[in-house]
């Protein structure tokens, strides 16, 4: 005997029940003797009945208070032939009926779960990366200090970077546990450490370029470009480790988030910059002559090139 499947949805559209029946009479209502029990106060104790007739399945209103409607047309009826996939409204609930040969959508292809990256999850590797982060940031604190600070004070910067990495990785591990049933905390730590390690020298490279070409704009452009690239890489790795998004969606999400962060940064920079600045603002970073700086032109040539700064917008 062919089966019939009845699905029940509540007012929010959440499916409550998915039941298949082999008998030829299915009673639907709020009372407990029914085959499908609907806990909807607007449904009558014995609301309706699905019956197999000669011409096929029929839905009959069993004298309910609030009636039975076709969902698409909101037409009320007493008795009606049922097709597979028909949807009805009883009280505030939705009832769907399927026959067992109801066509299905093709199966979606999901990404095969990537196996753990062996290199990135090795304890030795993680230890090495975390130690590197700690030392890079501690040395950076030493390099920007103008006093002889104690090691503990300098190392606080390194510790701060480590805490940042743990929080970031922990967050993504939590998401991974929820979505993929795998936290992959170790890999998340490695990824976040690589990002942290790369961002500092790249920042230095962009300030060096700003110094070398005497351009604040170039420095800004390079630092945002470098940050953008490294951050996008980090996000893609985080997303692929912790979510089931396809590569395309990962890229879209990453591009969106990276651009959003950079735009917020740029906007807040312009919003914070006062329109009138009483002192000159210029790119004032100087770099040690490990790579010898350009010799520079003559004083007269510099003054000649600088003539353009005397052209101001007409404001008189």
């Amino acid at each position: 005997m062919a089966k019939i499947i009845v699905a029940l949805f509540n007012t929010q559209g959440h499916r409550l029940e998915y039941k298949s029946f082999e008998q030829s009479e299915i009673n639907i209502g709020r009372a407990f003797h029914n085959d499908v029990i609907v806990t909807d106060p607007f449904v009558s104790p014995h609301h309706c009945q699905l019956t197999r007739a000669e011409k096929g399945w029929v839905l009959i209103d069993c004298g309910s208070e609030n009636g039975v409607y076709i969902r698409k047309t909101l037409e009320r009826f007493e008795e009606r032939c049922v097709e597979s996939g028909d949807e009805f409204i009883i009280g505030e609930s939705r009832l769907c009926v399927y026959f067992e040969d109801h066509p299905l959508a093709p199966t979606k292809v999901c990404q095969a779960p990537t196996p753990n990256s062996k290199t990135l999850s090795r304890p030795f590797m993680i230890g090495f990366l975390l130690l590197l982060v700690f030392w890079i940031y501690t040395i950076d604190a030493h390099l920007v200090s103008i006093k002889n600070l104690s090691f503990v004070k300098k190392s606080l910067t390194g510790v701060g970077a480590l805490i940042g990495i743990l929080i970031w990785a922990g967050g993504w591990a939590f998401i991974g546990q929820l979505i993929k049933h795998r936290a992959r905390f170790m890999e998340q730590i490695s990824v976040a450490s690589i990002f942290t390690i790369l961002s500092l020298p790249l920042k230095q490279v962009s300030t060096y370029l700003g110094f070398r070409f005497s351009s604040m704009a170039l420095e800004g452009l390079c630092s945002s470009l470098f940050f953008g690239i490294v951050f996008a890489w980090l996000l893609i790795r985080n997303l692929s480790l912790s979510t089931r998004l396809s590569l395309k969606k990962q890229r879209v999400a990453t591009a969106f988030i990276t651009i959003a962060i950079m735009s917020i940064g740029a906007l807040s920079y312009f919003a914070d910059t006062a329109e009138f600045r009483s002192s000159p603002s210029y790119f004032g970073t100087l770099k040690a002559p490990y790579i010898p700086p350009p010799r520079g032109g003559s004083i007269d040539a510099f003054m000649k090139e600088g003539t353009s700064i005397y052209s101001f917008e007409n404001h008189k």
Binding site: I146, P280, G284, K287, I299, F302
Partner: protein, 423 residues
């Protein structure tokens, strides 16, 4: 009763005076009696509230109602004529309106005119007196009432771009624009400013005579555009002193391993400082030179000053990267320009590049901002840093307020060319 009064008087007289003001003599009393009628309080009244905004003093110096005062007393009227009104208050409490006829922003003088002509006025003398000569200054300090103070003439200030008389007496706020007279009751100078503790300055009366000549030439008509007048005066003044600076041979001084422009004219004073902290990782020597002269143009614009400063920073076994982080932090913060507001000047525009100075590489940043209300006047900032050494370097900064483009370029060029490594 009379006895009691006498005792009380004696008691008060015996209380020692802790004030350092000169002893009041009968001479001052006689001068005050004779000339108080020629001295006025000048008030700038805010039209919106009807209350006074600025007070100063002034004195009549012609029988046609010409009154001299300081430019800084009346500057609000010049800049915002629709917001203020100018009034005088005579010794007898009479109040009347005043019009500005002439200003001299360089010497801080203004000549105003009252339509109600009044017979009492002061004559002029020569400001060239012997040092130590007794002179008397009149004015209305802090709106307390007309006063006369006695002090000594201490010659013309030698180290100033603009000639001023050094007066050892207490000029206070509100006395600005009042006359300083000699024993014959003739004006030798106009009260202008004080450095506190009996160090006060007067504008020599000769400049007032010059200003009066303008009025005579213009037959008492006030110019229609005050900005143009200020502009011309600033430009003419600049021509005079910048050209003098450009033409002179500059004295150089050693800073670290370099020689740099020192006290390039006697009007510049250099002050130095250096570190002396324990456990230090670097050494620095700081020298700042500047002229003391400011030109007051309005409440929001002061100009005419030149400042140049040097920082010689040496590393004490710092890694070069660390040393350069420190070195840049000095370079990145230029002079704080608090001399002008948004309505007076534009933002700075900068040009930056490597420049070869005396055979080594330097980073040079040249910044300029334009005066909005005056033609061809700029504030400039020239910041330079030597970048050829790993463990030492000189940072220098040149600040010139109110200069034209051509002179700014010449001055900056000369400044840069004077810097040399010691051989």
């Amino acid at each position: 009763m009379k006895k009691l009064l006498l005792i009380l008087t004696l008691f008060f007289l015996s209380v020692p005076s802790y004030s350092y003001s000169a002893e009041i003599t009968d001479e001052a009393q006689a001068l005050y009696q004779a000339h108080q009628k020629s001295v006025y309080q000048i008030q700038v009244i805010d039209l919106a509230t009807g209350k006074k905004t600025t007070i100063g003093s002034g004195f009549q110096f012609s029988d046609q109602g010409h009154i001299a005062t300081n430019y800084h007393v009346v500057s609000n009227i010049i800049h915002w004529p629709e917001r203020f009104r100018l009034e005088y208050v005579r010794h007898d409490g009479e109040i009347g309106e005043l019009d500005v006829l002439h200003i001299d922003v360089i010497h801080d003088l203004a000549i105003v005119h009252s339509k109600d002509s009044y017979e009492f006025f002061l004559g002029f003398a020569d400001s060239n007196l012997e040092k130590g000569t007794r002179i008397f200054s009149m004015g209305n300090p802090y709106d307390l009432g007309m006063t006369i103070i006695e002090g000594t003439y201490n010659g013309l200030m030698e180290n100033s771009l603009y000639r001023k008389i050094l007066f050892s007496g207490s000029i206070n706020s509100g006395m600005s624009g009042g006359p300083s007279i000699n024993r014959d009751g003739k004006v030798i100078g106009i009260n202008v400013s004080t450095a506190g503790n009996q160090v006060s300055f007067l504008v020599p009366v000769e400049y007032l005579k010059e200003s009066y000549q303008y009025i005579v030439q213009r037959e008492g008509q006030a110019p229609s555009d005050w900005y143009k007048v200020i502009d011309e005066q600033l430009n003419a003044n600049q021509t005079q002193y910048i050209d003098k600076l450009l033409a002179s041979d500059w004295e150089v001084m050693p800073v670290g391993e370099l020689t740099v422009p020192g006290e390039i004219l006697n009007v510049f004073k250099c002050w130095g400082n250096s570190t002396d902290i324990e456990d230090k990782v670097f050494d620095y020597a700081y020298i700042s030179c500047s002229s003391d002269d400011n030109l007051f143009i309005s409440d929001s614009l002061i100009t005419g000053k030149i400042i140049y400063k040097y920082n010689w920073v040496t590393s004490l076994k710092m890694w070069p990267i660390r040393y350069y982080n420190l070195y840049s932090s000095y370079f990145a913060y230029p002079h704080a320009y608090d001399n002008a507001g948004e309505e007076d000047v534009t933002n700075f525009q900068c040009h930056s590049d490597f420049v070869n100075i005396d055979g080594t590489s330097w980073k040079v940043v040249y910044c300029v901002r334009e005066y909005k209300k005056y033609e061809n006047l700029y504030d400039i900032n020239l910041s330079i840093a030597s970048v050829s050494e790993k463990d030492k370097g000189l940072l220098a900064e040149l600040v010139v307020l109110g200069i034209n483009q051509q002179r700014a370029n010449l001055f900056a060029t000369k400044f840069l060319k004077t810097i040399q490594w010691q051989k």
